[in-house]
Amino acid sequence: MSDLLIGIAISLLKTLGLLFAVILPMVSYTVYAERRVSAFIQDRVGPNRVGPYGLIQPIADAVKLLLKEDFTPAHVNKFYYWLAPACAMAPSIMALAVVPFGSTWFGQPMVVANVDVGVLWVFAVSSLGVYGIVLAGWSSNSKYPFLGGIRSSSQMISYELSLGLSVIPIFLICGTLNLPAIVKYQIENGWFISPIWLKGISLTGIDFPELFSSFSIWKFLLWIPLFLSFIVFMVSMFAETNRLPFDLPEAETELVGGYHTEYSSMKFALFFLGEYAAMIAGSAVIVTLFFGAWHIPFLPTAPEQLSFWPGVLLGLVHIIAFFLKVALLLFFFIWVRWTLPRFRFDQLMRLGWYFFFEIALVNILLVAIILAIMPK
């Protein structure tokens, strides 16, 4: 009984710690980064007034959004109008539950839920995010939000397919959906972005016999479909999180504000932050699947085998490494947003259905064939 209670306490601690100490600050600072990076790209300065380098800006933003009038227009469907913002924010945070954001810390595995359905949970939950947007569009009872909601649902459904199909090669190779197990596989065989990691290289020197024995042409052959699957997954993730060049649901130039046109104050903020939380969740999944999650090459990977304090330190380093990788990916998201123009809707659908869907399918076949004829 007490074991169960301790388990629940640890789980709660991990959840709350991840949510309030890492994810929510990260969300607000991603907004800051978005503004600052976009400013730099456009030869401006960006928010630099509040605090040193404008670093307190997110807090000022939050205060402003909280203090604004929370206006509910008379023509909306109240129940769904109130439900929608919560539906937009929650799924992206829930998706993070299965992501291993560190090795072990104080002897505890740094993943909230170590479940075997892993990636399926991510897909299932992150596709719930579309409900928030569709509900917002529908319940606002106004043209532009409605168009945004329609666009969003068709876009998400289209890209969900290629999103799911593009990562099947990874599961074919690993033979599991469990994310910590996938990370373990990557530590041993190299990150999936370049699965040609040669064994026998360490900080102390190169073990040549092991190096040559681990070298095989099949690994290089596997690299091609895995790289394809990375590209498809990445682009689909852009579409899934409604980021430019796929931000048609909230295309400002066409739809005023898109699905959140009728929202104000904290309800708007939930949509806004939900988008960034989705970005973080998406980046976390990409990092886990393709960039070896918390793994740093050449560093020991098992803190629990070290003595107490070095183990704690290493665990912390792994957590930091994970979020650093996520942050770099977020930077890429932002960088792309301020570079590429928006797709036309038919182009978006064409890309999703004619190209990515097919590429992902062929990719699966390719990996299956390679794995079938590859010597064990």
Partner: protein
Amino acid sequence: MAYTVPRPKLTLAEKAYVPALIAGLGITIRHFFGILSGKKKVTMQYPDEKWDTHLPPHYRGAPTLVADDYGRERCVACQLCEFICPPRAITIKPGEIPEKDRWRKVEKYPEEFEIDMIRCIYCGLCEEVCPEQAIFLRKDYAITGLTRAEMVHDKKRLYELGGVMTGLVNKWNEKK
């Protein structure tokens, strides 16, 4: 007659869109690092940095009244500026200099001299028309106030802004 718009033939690289995409990313990241390293210039950070040192000598800022070498007002209340002022921003109430005053031969002085800075268009005609070189457009450009009344510069304020100007025509001096 129908005009056919010639469609450019796209090469394979252009059709694939990827090289253009990467080139675009390259451009934006160059701008990003340009600003980050401070090599690229951004606009002047206005309230922190001001225009003051960059202003040309002929800059037309707020019109002001100036005092002469004796610390005496130059204005003789001839009202030429009041008449020429296109937006009628200037209001002068002339007064007579008393009999025993040292400057009696100047005859007139402005009892009140007001420039409504809400009206002023900074054209500089007052400066141009002034026979006494008493009114000058100085370099103050940020004239602000919380009320309309505050935006009307009276004589005191005008002399504060104008200061002393020496070494010019001194028509009313003892010896000319």
